[in-house]
């Protein structure tokens, strides 16, 4: 059975807590324009979902009109902060005890009157139907639980990278997150509520309950309560985590004296659950009985799940329901059972947002006219609580959590995101180079590094809005929020999926946006762009004066030197801040001499002697010197060779990375100075596209759909990725199906040290896909 209905009045929802005062700023956000409510009421937790539109500030760039150029300054473009409206999904989870208070709160703050119905699901929905209708004046429209569950499951699997994880107790990293699969179907969902439902999901709308069992969470709770006289589910789990099942269970060795060798059954296997309790003259401890019961139920469910997975030939099996709901104890016993019965062939997968699936699904049912599935959505790290452990053994004080409101917020992304078609194997692509959950020293360093850099970011944020007196206050709020996130991640690195340098950077961007600092570097970028533009012609002229051979090397050095200009790297931002005159030439001198740390320049050079590439896709990095004096001349050379170029830049701001909006303006003014660029633009041989990202890093599995389309149309045969964020922190090991060039300067001494280099070491990685060689070699 899917959900369960808690009947136990002692811990139940009947005892409404009205005294609680909700911190409205943090919990029911954006209620003013909320619409499309959905609610999932389980046995102990209520999950509320709604859709809102969020107004937030975005920095826009606009070229000055040349006719009115007598304006106050000589900037190339102006920056204006505009209000932008984006869609956001809010999910809030709280104990049933607060349901009335929450409904009152919603009623008081709900302005939008369009909303007429509230979609409801979950076993408790009918019980609270009358209350909801009375309080909110909305008609309760009940939706099938299982349908909601599956819809929600599909949604999170598709939209949240690192949603699913494998749980491995007693290892360095208990949570091992799975990368998003391009195709999420088919899968098996084992929902362990009071009973167990086993559902095979084959597509968005096709699923089938292929089996189930009555031995589930209700059995653990009911039987456990009888055996141990313990009332609550959580207390039972806590007991179980302390018990020894071997005193209650009959093991193989209790019967055989050792293992049953001929069948390969080890002595420690349970031969008969509760087999030793069939005696009148012995007392058993509560802990031991609870443990034995937990094993019995987990093993049984695991066995059934394996049998069904085998019968239907499915290898992806997700577990959810209140029995699991993030409890490490049950995740461990289920994992153990699945490993045992499938001999490791099937992995038990769990979901970070498992508790929200029903609410998400109910919401999606109600929002069908908005076509939420047509869009891509992204988890907003600033507004989401992340995965908190409710483990009794990890958190013995967990009774105190009853006042906790867990939240998930998802932003509707402007564009649909898809895989880069050039990935060699999209299903095994992992953007991030280092998993900080597994790599403890790296985690330690980067958390420290981001904490250290926080003051600078706050200062930068305030400075970016000199006209706004409350900026300092907001910046302080940002500091608190981000510091809190860092602290959470220190204790629970798994809270937001895989912890990576990218996720730390993205979280920072989300938090900055949250407090209306949409682009703290906009002014700096503007200054640098203006300054660098002045040198463009001189730089190009100098390059043109070189021999072909010298020029090729100078161009590469130019890109690398330009990449030294980076506010994202602490070592550099210190220098930049103290010495604004830090010039391009100085940067070149800082560069490591060849041979570089990773150096395939010779191969690249050889390749350049060959026929030109058809079309290159260039993922650019920073604004200013980097893009104008480093990248553009390099692009110019490619164009001159007859190679078309697609410049991919960020859709939204992140650090001092050049955005698509900025790049459009920059390219136009370069074109005005440079006939090569000019003609290429005119002939459509140089095009600018947005990546769909607002991150200093690059996830090639989540790129703008238009970019992917361009890639297909243009027959891209060279991908260039530039910068530490895109080519080192991410994509360092990315395998592409065409030639690729990864260029970066290591601007972090710790990372340089780790990679065996030193500060300003160069990574120049030119790769030709192995399969090409193979196919050539295999062709007679």
């Amino acid at each position: 059975m899917a959900e369960f209905v808690r009947v136990d009045s002692s811990t139940s929802s009947h005892t409404m807590d009205k005294s609680i005062i909700l911190p409205p700023d943090e919990i029911f956000r954006n209620l003013e324009n909320a619409k499309r409510f959905a609610i999932d009421i389980g046995g102990s937790l209520t999950k509320l979902a709604y859709y809102s539109t969020v107004q937030h500030k975005v920095a826009k760039v606009r070229s000055f009109d040349h006719t009115s150029k007598e304006a106050t300054n000589d900037n190339l473009y102006e920056i204006s902060v505009q209000e932008e409206v984006t869609a956001r999904l809010h999910f809030i989870k709280f104990e049933n005890a607060y349901i009335e208070t929450c409904l009152d709160f919603i009623k008081d703050h709900l302005v939008n009157t369009d909303t007429k119905v509230i979609k409801a699901t979950g076993g408790g929905a009918h019980k609270f139907k009358e209350l909801i209708e009375r309080k909110l004046g909305l008609k309760v429209d009940k939706e099938d639980e299982m349908t909601c569950l599956i819809k929600g499951c599909n949604f999170v699997l598709r939209n949240i990278p690192h949603e699913a994880f494998v749980f491995a107790k007693h290892t360095e990293s208990e949570y091992r997150f799975q990368t998003t699969q391009p195709d999420i179907f088919p899968y098996l969902l084992v929902n362990i509520g009071s009973g167990v439902s086993i559902v095979k999901v084959e597509s968005e709308d096709t699923f089938e309950r292929i089996g189930g069992s009555s031995i589930g969470g209700g059995t653990f709770w009911g039987l456990g309560a009888l055996l141990t006289k313990t009332k609550g589910f959580d207390e039972l789990l806590q007991l179980a985590s302390k018990g020894q099942h071997t005193s209650v269970d009959m093991l193989v060795k209790d019967i055989y004296g050792g293992s049953y060798g001929s069948l390969g059954l080890t002595g420690d296997l349970i031969a008969s659950s509760f087999g030793k309790s069939a005696t009148a003259d012995k007392e058993f401890s509560k802990e031991d009985m609870a443990k034995s019961l937990l094993h019995m139920i987990s093993n049984d469910i695991g066995q059934l799940a394996c049998l069904y997975a085998k019968m239907h030939n499915l290898s992806r099996v997700y577990f959810g329901g209140f029995f699991i709901r993030g409890h490490p104890v049950t995740m461990h016993t289920i994992t153990y059972s699945i490993n045992f019965f499938t001999k490791g062939e099937v992995q038990a997968l769990f979901l970070r947002h498992e508790g929200y699936l029903g609410a998400i699904g109910a919401f999606l049912k109600g929002a069908e006219e908005d076509n939420p599935n047509q869009y891509s959505w992204g988890e907003n790290y600033a507004g989401s609580s992340g995965l908190m452990s409710v483990s009794p053994d990890m958190n013995p004080m967990q009774r105190a959590r009853s006042g906790t409101f867990d939240m998930l917020e998802m932003d509707r992304l402007e564009r649909k995101l898809v895989n880069l078609p050039l990935l060699q194997d999209a299903s095994s692509y992992i953007p991030d180079t280092v998993d900080l959950i597994e790599d403890a020293p790296a985690r330690e360093y980067w958390l420290f590094c981001f904490e250290e850099a926080l003051d600078g970011v706050v200062k930068r944020a305030v400075a970016s809005q000199p006209d706004m007196p409350e900026a300092a206050e907001r910046a302080e709020k940002f500091r608190q929020k981000y510091r809190h996130k860092l602290q959470t991640l220190r204790h629970q690195p798994f809270a937001y999926g895989s912890l990576t340098v990218r996720s730390l950077l993205d979280t920072r961007e989300h938090c900055l946006n949250e407090f209306n600092f949409p682009d703290p570097y906009c002014k700096i970028k503007q200054q640098e762009n203006d300054m660098a533009l002045k040198y463009y012609q001189k730089a190009v002229k100098a390059l043109d004066g070189l021999s072909w051979e010298q020029r090729q090397f100078a161009l590469v050095r130019g890109v690398l030197a330009g990449n030294v200009f980076d506010w994202g790297a602490k070592a550099v931002s210190d220098v930049l801040e103290s010495d604004p005159e830090f010039g391009f030439e100085q940067a070149k001198r800082q560069l490591e001499e060849r041979p570089w740390l990773v150096d395939s320049y010779d191969q690249w050079f050889e390749r350049l002697k060959g026929p030109p590439h058809k079309c290159a896709l260039f993922f650019v990095d920073n604004s200013g010197v980097d893009i104008i004096l480093g990248v553009m001349p390099f692009v110019r050379e490619l164009l001159s060779r007859g190679t078309e170029v697609v410049l991919a830049s960020n859709s939204g701001p992140a650090l001092n990375d050049v955005t698509n909006g900025e790049l459009q303006i920059l390219t136009k003014s370069i074109a005005a100075m440079d006939p090569v660029i000019q003609s290429s633009l005119e002939q459509d041989r140089l095009i600018l596209v947005q990546s769909g990202s607002s991150s200093p890093c690059l996830d090639l599995s989540r790129l703008d759909k238009v970019l992917a389309m361009v890639v297909r149309e243009r027959n891209i045969d060279l991908v260039i990725i530039e910068g530490m964020g895109r080519a080192i922190h991410t994509n360092y090991y990315a395998m592409l199906s065409c030639e690729s060039l990864k260029m970066a300067v290591i601007k972090n001494s710790w990372l340089a040290d780790r990679l065996g280099g030193k500060l300003f070491s160069v990574v120049f990685k030119y790769e030709v896909p192995i399969t090409d060689h193979l196919s050539v070699a295999l062709t007679p």
């Binding site: 009947v7 039987l223 009959m250 004296g257 059954l265 031969a271 008969s272 659950s273 093993n299």
Partner: protein, 396 residues
């Protein structure tokens, strides 16, 4: 895990061999739960013919001879008969001395089969009378621990050319030390040095048999024995009646009837052996089988949980209580959650949604009867075994 203890043979009148869901499973092989008494009892202790260490070969050989012996008495050409007679005589010469018995030492119960010849000679009587008496008397003397299932007795069997009755005795594995003690007191080892035994206890108690009673155990694999035993009882039949049975129309209490059956064409079959734990075997022929899976939720779990929940002490007591209880007071049904059938998934309202699900509520816990709890435990365990067995049958 197979504990070689059958719930069925403890049920008393129902007999040791049981075919569930008969028709539904017949095509795939029957789903059986049988007492794993060892047919090695017919070979007896191997004192003279071969050393006890070569267990399986001597076992095979004795079975082979036994079959030939039976053939000889029925048909065949004169020459063949003559040859066979010689062989039979050689069997007779190498035939182990009485008493013949085999034991299966499970996790909870020890099952003992004992062949009592009725064509006993005076000489033999003289020779073996003391031991026979002790064996026969054992269960009666230890009324509280041992039970002889008189109703299960197989009469007028022919084994190794001798005619006699096969007795079935059981006692708790906990009483094993006392049994070994008895073996020493009665000086079993004066007649036998080896004893055929199977089940986990054959391994666990081997040293105690050797050191305390000076007896060697001829250890036989319990699953081998299980299959042999099953095929044997089916072949000899239960005193003229088929050994196996199944229930027709099992889901309809009105028209549900018990029907007997024989294993005329048994392979392949799924053999579900419910001891303390459960082993599920796919059997392709007498010697070719594999253990598909097992579950720890078996007879031991039923008894163990019943003891904890109701304070009962014996299996009989637990079953007796279960027969009087109503599990719907304990289990949460589909209709308790959905008000009726859950049509979306074709689940009937009467289906159990959550075993012991009602027990999440304190009021219901306080008002529940022991009988209801025993019944719910039985239903939970049997449904689960049925479900796993069905899946295995489909998968295999």
């Amino acid at each position: 895990m197979d504990k070689a203890k059958s719930m069925m043979d403890k049920k008393g009148a129902s007999g040791p061999f049981h075919v569930t869901n008969g028709q539904a499973f017949h095509a795939n092989g029957s789903c059986c739960s049988g007492s794993t008494f060892s047919s090695s009892s017919s070979s007896g202790p191997n004192s003279s013919s071969s050393p006890s260490s070569s267990s399986s070969s001597s076992f095979e050989a004795s079975m082979h001879h036994l079959h030939r012996g039976e053939d000889a008495e029925c048909n065949g050409s004169p020459a063949k008969r003559c040859r066979l007679r010689k062989r039979t005589e050689s069997v007779r010469r190498s035939r182990p001395p009485f008493p013949w018995f085999g034991m299966d030492i499970g996790g909870t119960l020890v099952k003992l089969v004992y062949f009592e010849p009725v064509d006993i000679t005076a000489e033999e009587e003289q020779e073996e009378v003391e031991n026979l008496k002790s064996i026969r008397r054992y269960p009666h003397l230890k009324r509280k621990t041992g039970v002889r299932d008189v109703h299960l007795e197989l009469r007028n069997l022919t084994m190794c050319g001798r005619t006699g009755n096969l007795h079935f005795i059981r006692f708790p594995t906990q009483a094993m030390p006392r049994f070994i003690q008895m073996g020493r007191d009665k000086n079993f080892s004066s007649l036998h040095t080896t004893l055929c035994a199977t089940g986990g206890g054959a391994y666990k108690f081997e040293n105690e048999f050797r050191s305390m009673a000076d007896l060697e155990l001829l250890k036989l694999d319990e699953l081998d024995c299980l299959i042999r035993g099953l095929l044997y009882v089916d072949r000899v039949s239960f005193n003229g009646h088929p050994e196996g049975y199944y229930f027709e129309n099992p889901s309809d209490t009105q028209s549900c009837v018990k029907k007997t059956c024989t294993l005329d064409n048994p392979f392949p079959m799924l053999l579900v052996n419910i001891g303390s734990g459960v082993s599920i075997l796919a059997v392709y022929s007498e010697n070719d089988y594999k253990r598909v899976t097992g579950t720890s939720l078996g007879g031991g779990t039923f008894l163990g949980l019943c003891c904890l929940l109701t304070g009962c002490e014996t299996f009989e007591e637990a079953l007796e209580m279960a027969s009087k209880g109503d599990s719907t007071n304990v289990d949460k049904l589909v209709k308790d959650i959905y008000g009726g059938d859950y049509e979306r998934f074709g689940l009937q309202g009467s289906a159990v949604a959550s075993s012991f699900g009602h027990m999440m509520s304190k009021e219901k816990r306080d008002s529940i009867s022991k009988e209801d709890l025993a019944k719910a435990t039985l239903v939970t365990i049997t449904n689960n075994i049925g479900s796993i067995a069905r899946m295995c049958a489909v998968n295999e």
